[in-house]
């Protein structure tokens, strides 16, 4: 089973990764985007249970005071659905993902001994006038280093 855990700031708190994004988007000439929300995403491929995924999300991947999490699960990557008006950025296959290595270690520290594969990604959700052309320009111009990262838009 694949679990995708997205971490979101609670109301009243902000993540610096999204703070300047709107002005950066205007800076590359994309108009009509009103707001953006950033979420780090952790994709865990393992035979862990949903309960264990929740423990990983609440005890490890999110901060109890300032953040909240959501979990989606699917059997294979082909079942995954991309959220509307969003961009996801992930490392290309074969690129070293150092944060994921730390997460694998930390999951073991939590006492979960199952074999886990972890990938880390970034998710950006936009509000305003979006279309594929604008999202592609934002993804390639600002968010993804296409040499080592791939992006998906919807």
């Amino acid at each position: 089973m694949i679990f995708e855990i997205a971490i979101k700031m609670k109301k009243g708190f902000s993540n610096p990764h999204s703070t300047h994004l709107i002005s950066d988007i205007k800076g590359i000439g994309v108009k009509g985007i009103k707001s953006s929300e950033y979420m780090p995403v952790y994709r865990i491929d393992s035979d862990i249970t949903k309960k264990q995924a929740e423990i990983i999300a609440s005890e490890l991947l999110s901060d109890k005071i300032t953040e909240e999490f959501s979990i989606v699960s699917y059997n294979s990557l082909s079942d995954k659905k991309i959220e509307k008006n969003s961009i996801e950025v992930w490392f290309k296959s074969g690129v070293t993902d150092t944060v994921s290595e730390s997460v694998v270690k930390a999951i073991k520290d939590l006492g979960i001994e199952n074999e886990v594969k972890v990938k880390t990604g970034h998710k950006y959700i936009f509000k305003g006038e979006t279309d594929d052309k604008k999202l592609t320009k934002i993804a390639t111009g600002l968010l993804a280093n296409t040499l080592i990262q791939e992006y998906k838009i919807k």
Binding site: P16, D63, T66, D109
Partner: protein, 259 residues
Amino acid sequence: MKKIKAIIIRTAGTNCDYELKSAFEMCGAEAERIHINELIANKNKILSYDILAVPGGFSYGDDIASGKILSNEIKNKLGDNVKKFALSGKPIIGICNGFQILAKMGLLPKPEKFEQISTLSYNDSNKFECRWVYLKTEKKQGDTKCIWTKEIPDVISLPVAHGEGKFIADEKVLKEIEEKSQVVFRYCDKDGSKTQYPEDPNGSMNAIAGICNDKGNVFGLMPHPERYVYALQHPAREGYDGVYGWGKQIFQNAIDFLK
């Protein structure tokens, strides 16, 4: 007389551990930098020390969030003994990344509860702040609750270097630590008055720069006292006895407390 023994926990990405060792040694203690794996392999080793210090730095590359992975590791692998250490009344200090670790594992502000009820989050400026700041030492009837800050002047300056130093807790927790005089240092201007950015480098709730537990032995702070043990390290060469910086007094206090 038996020398007081301080342990400094180190792992991938910790820094200022040598400065911390040197600070304890110049105050008369025997200090050792011990890797976390060695402590996990020998779980009772930590209890043979008199002072526990968690240094600054970027443990595990600040992956997930600052201090998150080391706090998770210490809590799950050494939690019982670290809690026992804290409740025994022995001095514990967490500096910068060390403060983030103590808060995220829940050793501060309530080690008896040992659950996370506060955090250090992104600076309001959204950038890394690396400079000297002024701190007001919180005192009640002229004295501090924290055993680490005895004889510290009302206003001192210390260097900060962090991107996630904004102290956050919910209203109830904040009220409780204020009422119990657990706030040790607040960011201030040079006269000790209330201030805002840039004197307050991160926008912490109630300008909190450091807190202690109710007993006063567990202390966490974002500024770096180990970087100011000599007056020469201060931009204006300020200090005491013509030689020392006020950071030294913080470590001296822990050692004097144990004597």
